[in-house]
């Protein structure tokens, strides 16, 4: 009798056609990495609010993540070699494997079936089934692997810091096919794929320059450019490696961080000639285009990392200098550019700015936040 009453009550209170209160769409969700505590904050972009914290992800210094095509799952790449699959709906870890001693990033294949991780120790790339996190392929390398990107056709490209070698791996068949594309140069520190998957660009630390591979070509060859910048004056110490994942491609140009210089370098995409140099507040770390606009936003290496500058890609002039907070580590734009979210590590906050007024709209508490990742990344090649 008692159970009958309970059942009746359940049926009355939760009719099938009205169960929508508990449903969550993921299109405006995102994850913020809390780098010191091994946790993630799940945020709702529309509500400008934190909705959950997910813990137990290990060492998240330099962590990044990518999303499944349905924007339900995140694959988190931790420094300690941990690959963790997080369910945004259940708000919990659903799979985790410590797949190497030390890793630096990862990518998901264009069909969403494979997740690849780039490892420092032991060096190389490991590829996993996106559903189960079972190992699919293990491609060792002679050094630390950087700049891993997804390339259309179930492929990935990556580069080796120690040797400069650039590889393209094709995982569309029964057996992986790995091709050595060529040598980028001395100590490549990061690489990025243009949003049209045309050009794989590799930034060099050990020498001046950037090396490009045309991935639309059947036999891509290395083309080096920007080898001449900063010929006058001393280079400054680089207190944080620039990151290229957000390299801005705008107004027919690449906007690139100079290494060891407080400069932004503008390169014509077609001719690869240097178009302009913009003097900046500090050593650029991220240079990210504000979507649907002529502007790029730039943050800086320590100790000048309390500042963010906005540059107009037409005039190459700094049009705004903001001091949003202490240790601004990352910037993530709403997919259509209305807002930018900034992580202020030493203020323990994520700051939300209107990109048009450049005024603060709100903030969210987070423990030493670093990377911010909105689910819209699921649909972007090269992220």
């Amino acid at each position: 009798m008692k159970s009958f009453t309970l059942l009746a009550a359940l049926l009355l209170s939760t009719p099938l056609w009205a169960g929508s209160d508990d449903l969550t769409a993921t299109g405006d969700l995102g994850l913020v990495v809390e780098r010191g505590t091994g946790s993630l904050v799940l945020i709702d972009r529309s509500d400008r609010a934190a909705v959950a914290r997910i813990e137990g992800l290990g060492d998240l210094s330099h962590a990044s993540l990518t999303y499944s095509p349905d924007e339900r799952f995140a694959y988190v790449f931790g420094r300690d070699g941990g690959l963790t699959k997080v369910d945004l709906l259940e708000r919990k870890i659903v799979a985790r494997t410590v797949q190497a001693g030390n890793s630096i990033g990862g990518a998901i294949s264009d069909d969403g079936r494979l997740v690849a991780v780039s490892n420092y120790e032991p060096g190389g790339v490991k590829v996993f089934d996106a559903g189960t996190l079972d190992l699919v392929a293990d491609i060792p390398a002679a050094g630390k692997t950087i700049g891993l990107v997804d390339v259309p056709g179930r492929r990935f490209a990556w580069t080796i810091w120690d040797t400069g070698e650039v590889f393209l791996g094709d995982f569309s068949g029964a057996e992986p096919k790995v091709t050595l594309l060529g040598n980028a140069g001395k100590n490549p520190f990061d690489a990025v794929l243009t949003d049209d998957a045309h050009t794989y660009l590799i930034g060099l630390f050990g020498e001046k320059g950037v090396t490009a591979f045309d991935l639309w070509d059947a036999a891509p060859q290395p083309v080096k450019f920007l080898t001449e910048y900063g010929k006058t004056g001393e280079d400054m110490p680089v207190y944080k490696m620039p990151h290229l994942q957000g390299w801005a491609f705008t107004e027919g140009q690449y906007a690139l961080p100079a290494v060891g210089r407080h400069e932004l370098l503008w390169v014509d995409r077609d001719s690869q000639e240097t178009v302009a140099t913009t003097q900046m507040h500090g050593q650029p770390v991220f240079v990210i285009a504000q979507p649907a606009s002529p502007f790029v936003w730039v943050n800086f290496a320590t100790p000048l990392n309390d500042t963010v500058q906005v540059v107009d890609s037409r005039s190459h002039e700094v049009v705004a200098t903001l001091t949003p907070g202490k240790a601004i580590l990352h910037m993530e734009f709403a997919p259509r550019g209305a807002e930018v979210w900034l992580s202020a590590r030493d203020d323990n906050k994520v700051l939300i700015y209107d990109t048009h007024t450049r005024e603060k709209l709100g903030e969210i508490a987070a423990e030493a936040p670093s990377g911010i990742f909105f689910t819209a990344r699921a649909h972007q090649t090269g992220l």
Partner: protein, 98 residues
């Protein structure tokens, strides 16, 4: 107490020169900024591991020199523009201890 004894054994003279507030800042720099390359847990990354085990054979003065002047030809920058010699010694000692 154990740490103090260890410090005395290491024979580092400059400790009194670092006020507690600055020591807290240095600790923060080690975790966050050194951690960018060497890992938050100092198990290594682009840079070498900096755990006490990894540094067991290293001399405090030698480590401090690397912190101040960097390692040419690598990604290790000179921190002399941002740190005093006493602060570099403090960091080197701290790295070897914990």
């Amino acid at each position: 107490m154990r740490s103090l004894a260890a410090l005395l054994l290491l024979g580092v003279p400059a400790f009194a020169e670092i006020p507690p507030e600055r020591a807290a800042e240095l600790q923060h720099i080690v975790q966050q900024d050194c951690g960018s390359c060497h890992g938050l847990t100092r198990k290594g990354g682009l840079g070498r591991p900096l755990t006490p085990e990894a540094l067991a054979e290293a001399e405090v003065e030698g480590l401090a020199a690397i912190i101040l002047d960097g390692v040419p030809g690598t990604a290790m920058p000179p921190w002399r523009p941002l740190l005093t010699e006493a602060e570099a010694l403090w960091i080197a000692t701290h790295l070897k201890l914990e």
